[in-house]
Each structure stands twice: as structure tokens, then as C-alpha cells.
Subunit: 161 residues, 3 copies
């Protein structure tokens, strides 16, 4: 790969690596809890604590391919830096979700979905990138610079809770 392409891929790859570390953290939590509950091996129906960690891991794992696909689409089609930033915010939200799920009070477990706003932002970035490609293709009018500027300007707003 030449340096230019690598420069586009590198920030996205870094976020992917961090997300893999987080996945490993979740998986180790699950394995630890499963060993804590019964010494013999992995069983799904165990104590309440194990059930909670298992479901939290499952919910996080379920949205992981969607997140990865959005991250890379937004990064490649539009602009890598804001996409990587949004990815980092998503990983932070996911960490909070996972820890919140393990909390003592079962009543206050968070819902099934999380990070909707960030996924939506990445989705809009991808749509903007695709639209721009077809605008260039059909009308020769390139808004890439404005889109990149706008996404960079909007991305800090994701930090607002």
C-alpha cells in the first residue's frame, strides 16, 4: 500500500484496534464470570451476575459488525479523521453501557440500543460521501471540501451527552 492510502486507513485501523482490545476486555469479563460461577466450564444459565455480563456482551457484540461497517464506510467515502473521532466516542459510550449493565440495581439496566446518535452521524457521513461521488460523476460539481469541513465542525457536537 502506498503512503496516501495508508494515511486514510491508519486512523480507522487505530480505532478498530482499540475496539478489538475492548472486545477482548468484554470477553475476558465473561470468561472470568463464567469461571467464578461454576468451576467446570462454560454454561449459559448461571447466576444472575453471569446472566447480566453475558447479555451485555451479547448486545455489544450484536451491534459490532454494524459499527465496523459504518466506521469504514464513513472513513473511506467521506473523511477519516471525523469518522475515527466518532468511532472513539462510540467506544467510550459502549464502555459506559457495558459497565452500566453490570451495575447492582437490575431495574436501571440500560435499554437494548446505545450510541444511536453516533451511528446516525457515521451514516450521514457515508450518505454525504456517496452523494458527492454521484454529483461529481453526473454534474462535475465537487463539494468534497465543504463536506469534510462540515463533518469536522459537527463531530465535536457528539461529545454533548
Amino acid at each position: 500500500m502506498d503512503q496516501d492510502t495508508l494515511g486514510t486507513i491508519a486512523p480507522l485501523a487505530i480505532v478498530t484496534l482499540i475496539s478489538v482490545v475492548q472486545n477482548a476486555f468484554f470477553a475476558i469479563k465473561v470468561e472470568h464470570e463464567s469461571k467464578h460461577c461454576n468451576g467446570k466450564g462454560f454454561q449459559r444459565l448461571g447466576s444472575s451476575a453471569f446472566d447480566r455480563v453475558y447479555i451485555a456482551n451479547q448486545n455489544c457484540g450484536h451491534t459490532y459488525p454494524t459499527f465496523l461497517a459504518m466506521l469504514w464506510c464513513a472513513g473511506l467515502l467521506c473523511s477519516p479523521a471525523p469518522a475515527a473521532f466518532a468511532g472513539l466516542v462510540y467506544l467510550f459510550v459502549r464502555q459506559k453501557y457495558f459497565v452500566g449493565y453490570l451495575g447492582e440495581r437490575t431495574q436501571s439496566t440500560p435499554g437494548y440500543l446505545f450510541g444511536k446518535r453516533i451511528i446516525f452521524f457515521l451514516f450521514l457521513m457515508s450518505v454525504a460521501g456517496i452523494l458527492n461521488y454521484y454529483l461529481v460523476f453526473f454534474f462535475r460539481s465537487d463539494f468534497e471540501k465543504y463536506i469534510k469541513m462540515m463533518t469536522s465542525a459537527i463531530s465535536p457536537l457528539l461529545l454533548i451527552p
Copy 2:
């Protein structure tokens, strides 16, 4: 990214975006049903309706990474347009599968697998692309044009139920 590469990626990215919208639809269905069943939060063992929507979402989510990997491999290695078309058909079949799973009569739930034919078609496209690369590499004989023509011709056959 230059315009040529973007032209290859764009159709695949559009299908990916549509699949993400569908994933969001499935997830919202699950969350809605989980709130409907118990007001307090997310629990896995609930009413029969929730169980069905949960399992349908899980089965769809399970094959999602496989589908994405096949879609992009077939699109990048062989030809993007037929791959994107097959992806669209797959998303349609998935929608039908999900809705069918939620139907009233439990006896007639569809099986665990769906869209086998489409995944198989994308798989064959990827294999053809890889074979062609090695043919060019070793024997300098390029069948790319014929492969692209053939896949374009075969892809409408996926519409046959």
C-alpha cells in the same frame, strides 16, 4: 480516494448502508417488544412474542458478518454491480425471513438458514475473481471481461423464488 476506486466502492457502500438501516429496524423492533413486555428494562426471557423477535434478530445478526464479507469480497474481486444486486436481493429475503418469523403460527417458523443461494452466488463470484487473478499472474490470460459479463447475466436469476 480517487474517482475510479470510489466508483467500485459506491454500489457496495449503498447496499451496506441499506443493510444498516435494516439492522436498525430489527433492533428497534426488539427494543419496542422488550419495552412492551416489561416496563423496567431489557430481559431475555419474556413473553413468546418477545422470544420470537429476539431469536429472529439473533439469527439475522449471526449471518450479517458473513454476508458483509462475501458482499465486499465479491464486489472488489469480481464485479461490483452484480454483487450489489445480489446484496439487495439478500436484504429483501432477510426482511421476508424476519417478518415471517414474527408471524402468528409458531409451527410455520422458517428454519435457521436463509438466503443460502445468494451467499453461494457471491461466494462463486469471489472464487471466480481469485481464480482469474492467479490465471493472469501465472499464465497472462485474462478472463475478467467474460466473468463480469457472465455474472451480470446470471444475477437476475436470483430473483426466481
Copy 3:
């Protein structure tokens, strides 16, 4: 795609294709067992044999996106051949894990995690690739050749059980 890029992608795509075949094998096993347990359709809570095959498939499916992301990151950022080799070893380990899970003695089921060493190797390869990119970017010192040589030399060590 030009031939150079295809040459980078081809080994990774081949491993991805093999992993998809393996996924299909797992899914067929699950469907076969679910039909064996009850003729009417797919139900999650069935006999012990079905439970085991279902959980094994789920555990394998859970780490699949992580594996794919690592495989492609390591291959694109660092060197495709050792990454593809590590991917093959991972698929072999996964096969052993799946078959081991279905074994008769429930006490000896393997844990939740598997292939940690291989994922870690792919992770290190990605990190090395990213570090090298930033070294080139900031200091104009390229260690790409040494990294590729080292990863090629280390990768056979993954075969040690």
C-alpha cells in the same frame, strides 16, 4: 482493481472464503440438530445436544467480526502472507474448538475464548504496521522490510500447540 492491489487482497480473500465455508458448516450443523430435536421448526431450548451446538456456534460467531477485522487490518497494514497464514491457523483452532464443544463429556467443554494467541499476533502485526506508517511520516525511516521479514519468521511459531 489493478494487479498489485489484488495481489495484496487475494490471500486475505481466500482465508475469508474458507472462513465463510466453515461458518456455513457450523450453521448447517445447528440447523441439522434443530431439525433432529423437533420436526416443527427452530426452537432455542431443546435437548442438551442442541444446546451445546447452539452455544458453540454462538461463541464462534461472536468472535468472527473481531477475527475478520484483525485479519484484514494486519494484512493490509503489514504483510498479507503471514496474516493469511495466521488466519488459517485460527480457522483450524476454531474447528477444533467447535468439535471439542460437541464432545460427549460436558465437564470438559473448552472455555469461552479460543485462539487468543493468534488474534494477539495479528494485533501486533497491525500495531507494527501503523507504527511504521507514522515513523515514515514523521522521521522518514522505513522499517517495512524488517517488519515483514520478522512477521514471516515468527508466524510458523503459531503452529506450536
